[in-house]
């Protein structure tokens, strides 16, 4: 009997995680880099940006949002071109493994690395930077929905973008600047309302701005919503924009995914 697509997908997930932890670069780059940023920014900016809102509180919300982009979009858009260069994808294509199993494996990898990164940011934020956690179940629910939808969106966009870099070697140089620029303009490193309005409009095209705003609606008091561009959290619009990007990403992922260079 041919083994099921789901079972092979789960086995691939296990294998992906094993390989992830055996590669020191990926553990440092994906998991510890955001923690290092939190220490740097959290230690430099000790001011409060609004009544009852420390910069650390603001920053952790933004870092969790950009964590979703790091572990999904950035990780996959760099890793898949490398696997294509190394012949991994071509070899897999020649076996009875279904492409769906491959993507299930990647989704499991993203889920585990996202969960780890979010947990680390919350724990470190709580221990060292006085992070205040949400107290209502409504906020925790919103948090869970944002994490799940954000991860799916980020994973799909990573797979879709993986056909853009021409080689595995150059993938990091193509993908990382995009992520860093988005982090700067989307209100991760700077308070979004203090950015020039053209930059705010530019950032509003992309999902990260909406994810950071969504995470602020989880971690910041409702009084802070007045400082957002629309003077409220715009939860529904956030979910709509993430959904649109997910649909666009799925379309390109299916159409343009390449198993080998030629």
């Amino acid at each position: 009997m041919t083994p099921s697509i789901l079972r092979i997908g789960v086995l691939r997930g296990g294998l992906e995680i094993k390989q992830f932890f055996r590669q020191r670069e990926s553990v440092v780059f994906t998991l510890f880099f955001p923690i290092m940023l939190l220490f740097i920014f959290g230690s430099v900016f000790t001011n409060t940006i609004a009544p009852g809102v420390t910069f650390s509180q603001y920053f952790v919300a933004g870092m969790i949002a950009s964590g979703l982009v790091n572990t999904g979009f950035q990780q996959l858009a760099i890793m898949i071109p490398i696997e294509r260069d190394f012949g991994t994808l071509k070899r897999l294509r020649g076996t009875p493994m279904s492409p769906i199993s491959y993507f299930i494996g990647k989704a499991i990898l993203v889920t585990v690395s996202t969960a780890l990164q979010v947990a680390m940011l919350i724990v470190i934020g709580r221990l060292f930077f006085g992070l205040i956690l949400p107290t209502t179940s409504e906020r925790w629910l919103r948090f869970a929905i944002l994490i799940i939808l954000g991860s799916i969106c980020s994973t799909i966009l990573g797979i879709a973008f993986s056909s853009v870099p021409k080689s595995g070697r150059g993938a990091s140089a193509v993908v990382s600047p995009i992520v860093i620029i988005l982090q700067f303009v989307s209100g991760v490193f700077f308070v979004f309302s203090q950015l020039p309005s053209w930059m705010q409009h530019f950032a509003a095209i992309f999902p990260l701005k909406w994810l950071t705003q969504g995470m602020r609606s989880v971690f910041l008091p409702d009084s802070f919503a007045m400082k957002e561009p629309a003077h409220n959290w715009e939860i529904n619009r956030t979910l709509l924009i993430l959904a649109i990007w997910t649909v666009i990403g799925t379309f390109f992922a299916i159409r343009s995914f390449k198993w080998s260079e030629k």
Binding site: P3, I8, L11, L15, K18, G94, T95
Partner: protein
């Protein structure tokens, strides 16, 4: 029984100067079940294109192709049964560097309905001592053996081997050939591409020579290009210079020479053309 049947296979690629370049030109091939079949040809002859069409990696422009009775260019959507019956050893891969040999092979075994035993496959490719070593620590030859292990773990009926021993030392090549013969003995059909003529001669039941996308000849290594009926070359020394003659009757020619010299013939050699001589003549580089 026919394992692979190809008729009129044609494939062209876009080309900057010519518009299109014909890589495979009305090729016909038949590989019987259980045989080792070698595809020979210079670089760019169309070997890899042909094999990749058979493996289902590439589309074709026209022609009929059947591999185990199935058209690789028209696999039913989501069908995995055909892929379970073939094994592919690609030219060069560098993946899975952080996994051990056993982890890699064991993982791939889960893809197939009726895989071979992981430890038996590791032993068959001679990697038992490296079973727990990380793939990144393997030598080139060991890496290639792992590629073969991943190709045969699913108990394929046909194994595609693309230039399997490039970069091997002579000893590694010998033991690799032994492995391929054992696979043949267990009933596996093997399609081998190589540019080592001695490898084709040692392994193949039949060889096909391809040049410029066209099939030149299919024959056993011993009869390719009329090798078995080609004239024998006899050389010897006479008056401090080398003499040679070509003949269909080497025994009587040697006997005549022996009579002439009254016994031993100085510097005598009697040679039939090697597979390489025949091959080079066929592809026009003699």
């Amino acid at each position: 029984m026919q394992a692979i049947a190809v008729s009129g296979l044609t494939k062209s690629y876009p080309d900057k100067n010519l518009g299109t370049r014909l890589a495979v030109d009305h090729l016909n091939l038949d590989v019987k079940s259980g045989e080792i079949f070698a595809l020979l040809g210079p670089n760019g002859a169309g070997k890899t294109t042909t094999v990749e069409i058979l493996e289902g990696y590439r589309t074709r422009d026209s022609g009929e192709v059947r591999v185990l009775g199935q058209d690789p260019g028209a696999l039913p959507r989501g069908d995995r049964s055909w892929r379970s019956r073939i094994g592919i050893v690609l030219q060069s891969t560098m993946d899975a560097a952080d996994l051990s040999v056993r982890e890699s092979i064991s993982h791939f075994s889960h893809y197939y309905p009726n895989p071979r035993s992981v430890d038996e496959v590791i032993a068959a490719v001679g990697l038992t001592e490296k079973a727990v070593a990380k793939v990144r620590t393997l030598s080139g030859g060991q890496r290639r053996r792992l590629d073969v292990a991943l190709g045969i773990i699913g108990r394929p009926e046909i194994l595609f081997l693309d230039e399997p021993t490039t970069g091997f030392d002579p000893e590694a090549r010998r033991s690799f050939w032994e492995l391929i013969r054992e696979l043949k003995n267990s009933g596996t059909t093997i399609l081998l591409t190589t540019h080592y003529l001695d490898e084709a001669e040692a392994l193949a039941d039949r060889v096909a020579v391809i040049a410029n996308g066209k099939l030149i000849e299919v024959a056993t290594p011993a009869t390719l290009g009329g090798r078995h009926t080609a004239q024998v070359r006899i050389t010897w020394n006479e008056n401090n210079s080398e003499r040679e003659l070509f003949t269909d009757n080497p025994t009587s020619e040697v006997a005549k020479l022996s009579e002439l010299f009254g016994g031993e013939i100085p510097g005598l050699t009697v040679t039939r053309p090697t597979l390489e001589d025949i091959y080079l003549t066929m592809i026009g580089h003699s």
